[in-house]
Symmetry: C2
Subunit: 221 residues, 2 copies
Amino acid sequence: MQDIPGPAVYRISFYLRQLETFQRAEHETISSKQLGKALGYTDAQVRKDLTYFGQFGHPGVGYRVDELIGRLKKILGTDRVWPVILVGAGNLGRALMSYKGFLRKGFQLSAVFDADAAKIGRRFGDLEIEPMENLPRIVGQLQIRMAIIAVTPEAAQGVLDFLIEAGIRGVLNFSPANLKSPSDIFVQSVDLAVQLEQLSFRMSLGDPSDALPQDESRSVR
Amino acid sequence: MQDIPGPAVYRISFYLRQLETFQRAEHETISSKQLGKALGYTDAQVRKDLTYFGQFGHPGVGYRVDELIGRLKKILGTDRVWPVILVGAGNLGRALMSYKGFLRKGFQLSAVFDADAAKIGRRFGDLEIEPMENLPRIVGQLQIRMAIIAVTPEAAQGVLDFLIEAGIRGVLNFSPANLKSPSDIFVQSVDLAVQLEQLSFRMSLGDPSDALPQDESRSVR
DNA sequence: TGGTGTGAATCCTTTCACAGCC
DNA sequence: GGCTGTGAAAGGATTCACACCA
């Protein structure tokens, strides 16, 4: 078990999400064809992806929804709760703090840090913003391994280094910077501008004139 | 010109970002090797990616930074400003509203909508939240083609359909839902939970016991 | 009949290696 | 010598097609 395509791991998350939808609709079993169709994949893709991790299906029947959900959570490591810290309590950080979907998915926001003295002690929900100095102690005491970075791109690399030093091993990074880290540290980055650029690229292919108000009348009422 | 690998288009965004960094550092030219190294790609990868779109380099010299930035922006369609609307003024939506990086990257937030009557008229920066009824008119008048969705997963599909009906052709979706749309509509999705799951997966591979506070003493001071 | 699991075939992406240019 | 652009080779991922099972 060690050459699973990256895209396959990524799709596992989507299978899980879709299975939970089927579960709420009280489906007992589901075929690779149904699951694939709901997500826009082929049935072969679904089966192949799943068999990278084991044999979960029942020939002639399909996959039992509850069972497969349990297996996928175990694979993704979300069958338990991961404590997570957030660094950076700016706009985005504060939005993340109040994001409710966290816990349901197996992640628990355990502490929030910011370098700005003016923000320290401010309270959001049941957490209050801590100064960076407290970070190593808290990470150590709560044995936290996962962090979310939502700071300026200039500060991001320094924060990452500091986090690693404190014992963090996986990071979800929201700042638009190319972060460097040792290979045993996992960094997953989300860059809003990159996402918008991808959209813009695809939209420009079809009709480059769509970008700015041109003529082309359409339902102005 | 029409079979460019998806991953290559994605990397173009990163080349652009890195080039802008080199530009700020006043580099005149840059080789595929330098650019690749800064981002963790091979030099061959960089050259191949770029040649999908044309010939931008100068043998023996490299790429002229200013020139290449201009070309890549044109390719991505961000050499002009795209007006964008936001639907959903919850926590995440409000964070996006105040995100300053937008305009610099070629995107301008032009209007914000929410279905919740209590939020209508509330003001953030220079925009105020509009009711959904106004959406088709505003999209039509300003000829807007791009939207960001930050609503609940339950509402997302309905909002998407409504947006398409109003003339939107590209959507950046932040709600955790598998949205269906015609093939000429571009939907780019970002799901926070999926990102965290990918991290959790990779971290679980190495050492499954890292998830919850176990023994393993580390720098608790 | 309806379904999984899987080797083989296909398709797509990345890397190699080198001709040609400054 | 240093660098790009690119066909050819290698490496990965997806799809096909079928054996096998309920």
